[in-house]
């Protein structure tokens, strides 16, 4: 995420990015296998607290991301809630048929999406691209060409955004926006896509040549400006994550809020 808007003094910024990546990837897999609605509810509560505390965004932004994540989760839940199978019908209207079981499953799905969203926000808002890729090269031995390729691509994002603005203005001047209808919309879309694509390919080609002109080699050894290593912060991070995850499981056992301990079976 753009370091301009983030607060880099937060703890998670100082955690080794590779560790963070692996840890979060593990959590993704872990929560895919959780079928207990109570666990998901308590996990959501726990991660909401952690995200609010640890994310690197200004308050206004973090609230915005929270809302967005919530809306996305709501949509992912709604299909399951409205059309799921089950025997205890709560509500029926034409094709829509909500049952207790489908409600539980839907909420479970929605919460999972929400937790995934939170993890994403947490990772993206506390991991600047440069240290991230340096860490990938140093700790996970990712080939340098991919790492520097991605970094070069990152530089192009703001340029593409600017370009989109220019094309929009140009369309307006040329009277493209005066055309109505589906066909005009399609043509407009095609035009945006072509314009951005052509410029990006050209830029990528030029950047690649410039990098090679600076003796970038994909095979030879290199030194690293930033040494990404390990610190006590990594231990703190792991402890925080462990406490969060374990508290989700324990609280669901101590204070089960719903009777649905396995949403697939219905109970």
């Amino acid at each position: 995420m753009d370091p301009v808007i983030t607060d880099t003094s937060k703890l998670f910024f100082k955690v080794n990015p590779s560790l963070k990546l692996i840890c979060f990837a593990f959590l993704f897999i872990l929560y895919l296998s959780v079928q207990n609605l109570n666990t998901m509810i308590w996990t959501t509560v726990a991660f909401s607290i952690v995200t609010l505390w640890a994310n690197g965004l200004p308050r206004k932004w973090s609230v915005g991301f929270f809302l967005m994540t919530f809306i996305v989760s709501f949509f992912s839940a709604s299909a399951m809630i409205l059309y799921g199978k089950g025997s205890h019908v709560l509500f029926q209207w034409f094709l829509i048929r909500t049952t207790e079981e489908s409600l539980a499953r839907g909420i479970q799905l929605g919460l999972r999406t929400f937790v995934f969203g939170l993890l994403g926000v947490l990772f993206a808002s506390t991991t600047p691209p440069v240290p991230f890729f340096y860490s990938l090269m140093q700790q996970l031995k990712v080939p340098v060409r991919y790492a520097y390729g991605c970094l070069a691509a990152f530089r192009m994002l703001p340029m593409m955004a600017e370009e989109l603005g220019h094309i929009r203005q140009a369309m307006k001047v040329r009277g493209m926006s005066r055309q109505k209808g589906l066909r005009a919309f399609y043509e407009r879309f095609l035009h945006y896509a072509l314009g951005i694509l052509v410029q990006s390919i050209r830029r990528a080609q030029r950047t690649a040549v410039a990098m090679e002109a600076k003796r970038f080699s994909m095979k030879e050894k290199r030194t690293f400006y930033y040494q990404i290593g390990w610190s006590r912060k990594d231990l703190i991070f792991l402890s925080v994550m462990t406490v969060t995850v374990v508290s989700g499981f324990l609280l669901s056992r101590w204070i089960p809020l719903t009777p649905y301990t396995n949403v697939i079976d219905g109970y």
């Binding site: 440069v130 970094l151 990152f154 220019h166 140009a170 410039a210 002109a213 003796r215 970038f216």
Partner: protein, 491 residues
């Protein structure tokens, strides 16, 4: 040229090179040699292969740009640096220090030594940042190019190749760039491709002149070449020191300046916004039909914002009144990058696009398009895709397309930017004929020669405000300021 025998000689003998989808070989057994310490300038019309030769001499072709190349003998200097034209695509890292560190990493320098070296290289190029950890995209074009030099210096190069490094820079940036090159050129070999040569003639000793087919027309001491091939320099559109006077001598009709009384645009308490920030404000401004208005000012002063505002491309507030029936169609706008405004796949469709929108009969469109193709020397390219045109042709097409439905006012954002002398003069002739026909031309420009010779009205913008509004009197040449009641001067 005679070469001293004790220095290493680099260069290429009998070069042939093929471009994809072209039948003939480019360069027919071209040979070129140079030696340590030489400062050489490559001149020639656009598309003559100067830049390509530079890339061959550095080994970038065929190593990084795979093209079929055949040479009898090729010797490439051991250490060299290459500065490219586009300031935005030379970097792969987001921060200044990281970019130079990238080069040092490639050279396997110990990371502990890097901060000191980064500081030294930045200092050499006059980029004295107290903290070099600074976002590259916040730098101006001129600073970016100097950073490109700093990062190339980190290669400790014997030879520097510069491929039109100032083509996309404003006059200030250009000046600073050459100042930097001058400072670091001591003891280094320079090979420069450039169109705007006035500022670097004192830097180079030898000039190589190419003809349009990629043959070397002349190769010798600069004074001799400049003296003997003056006509070729004009014909190839090179910005030599005498380009403007020569143009003025060629112009058949002297510039006329008319009185302008019929208003075309009124602005009152007018502000333009980018997002939520107010980027330009003017309390009052009146423009008249047939005026050639030049909008000048430093980079980032708000010139482009101002013209985008009066064409309603960005959010604005206050009173803006065009004395026109159809504002959308009667005010056209030409963008700095012509590619953005191309909306079709063929040059002819591009020209006919707005006519078709206005539902003109097909025969009429056909007639207007053909005439416009002839007027802008694009007949040969009638069915070409606009993206495949040359830089000059693209610019001509973008101007032609915005003029075809005869707008009452034309707004141009740096229309001569990056154009060679020949293209620039052709465009200026055209704008002059528009003004003569009563069209209002509003033009953002950095080129003071244009302002001095053509503009009838000069608006100076600084810090988002109009700080000067001067009118060139009907009969006179230079600039004079009027403080009359109708031409407000804003402080």
């Amino acid at each position: 040229m005679c070469l001293k025998s004790n220095e290493p000689v680099w260069g290429v003998t009998d070069l042939r090179l093929a471009f994809p989808q072209k039948k003939d070989m480019f360069f027919k057994d071209l040979s070129f040699n140079y030696q340590k310490g030489e400062k050489i300038l490559f001149l020639g019309p656009s598309g003559c292969g100067k830049s390509t030769l530079l890339q061959v001499l550095s080994g970038l072709i065929p190593k990084s740009v795979p093209l079929p190349v055949h040479t009898e003998k090729l010797s490439i200097p051991k250490s060299w640096g290459f500065i490219f034209q586009d300031p935005d695509t030379q970097f792969c890292m987001p921060y200044v220090d990281e970019e130079i560190a990238f080069v040092l990493e490639n050279r396997r320098i110990d990371p502990k030594k890097m901060p000191g070296l980064i500081h030294d290289y930045l200092k050499l190029t006059g980029l004295d940042f107290s903290d070099p950890h600074r976002l590259i995209r916040t730098l101006s074009g001129g600073m970016k190019q100097r950073l490109a030099i700093a990062s190339v210096l980190a290669l400790e190069p014997e030879v520097l190749f510069l491929d039109e490094p100032t083509a996309l820079l404003d006059p200030d940036g250009t000046e600073q760039l050459w100042e930097t090159v001058r400072r670091i050129s001591k003891g280094r070999t320079l090979l420069i491709v450039e169109h705007k040569i006035s500022r670097i003639l004192d830097l180079v000793a030898r000039i190589v002149l190419f003809d349009p087919d990629g043959r070397i027309l002349a190769d010798g001491p600069k004074d001799q070449v400049l003296e003997q091939y003056r006509d070729e320099l004009d014909a190839y559109g090179i910005w030599h020191p005498d380009a403007w006077p020569a143009y003025e001598r060629r112009r058949p009709v002297p510039i006329r300046r008319q009185k302008h009384e019929e208003p075309i645009l009124d602005l009152k308490n007018f502000s333009v916004y980018h997002g939520r920030t107010k980027c330009f404000t003017v309390p009052e401004l009146h423009l008249y039909r047939g005026e050639w208005v030049a909008v000048i000012g430093k980079n980032g002063a708000g010139k482009s914002t101002m013209v985008e505002g009066i064409r309603s491309l960005v959010r604005h507030e206050g009173i803006m009144h065009w004395y026109l029936d159809h504002k959308e169609e009667d005010v056209s706008f030409v963008f700095q990058n012509p590619e953005y405004q191309f909306v079709t796949d063929k040059v002819e469709d591009e020209l006919g696009f707005s006519l078709k929108l206005n539902k003109l009969p097909v025969s009429e469109i056909e007639k207007l398009v053909t005439r416009s193709l002839e007027q802008f020397a694009l007949t040969q390219q009638r069915t070409t895709h606009p993206y495949q045109l040359s830089v000059g042709q693209k610019r001509r097409l973008s101007v032609a397309a915005s003029l075809i439905d005869r707008p009452q006012a034309v707004i141009l954002d740096e229309p001569t930017f990056g154009q060679d002398a020949r293209n620039t003069f052709a465009l200026l002739d055209l704008f002059q004929s528009l003004v003569d026909g009563g069209t209002t031309v509003i033009m953002v420009t950095h080129e003071m020669e244009i302002v001095r010779r053509f503009a009838t009205r000069v608006l100076t913008v600084a810090d988002g405000r109009l700080i000067g509004d001067s009118r060139v009197p009907a009969s006179g040449r230079g600039e004079e300021t009027e403080n009359g009641s109708r031409y407000h001067r804003h402080q």
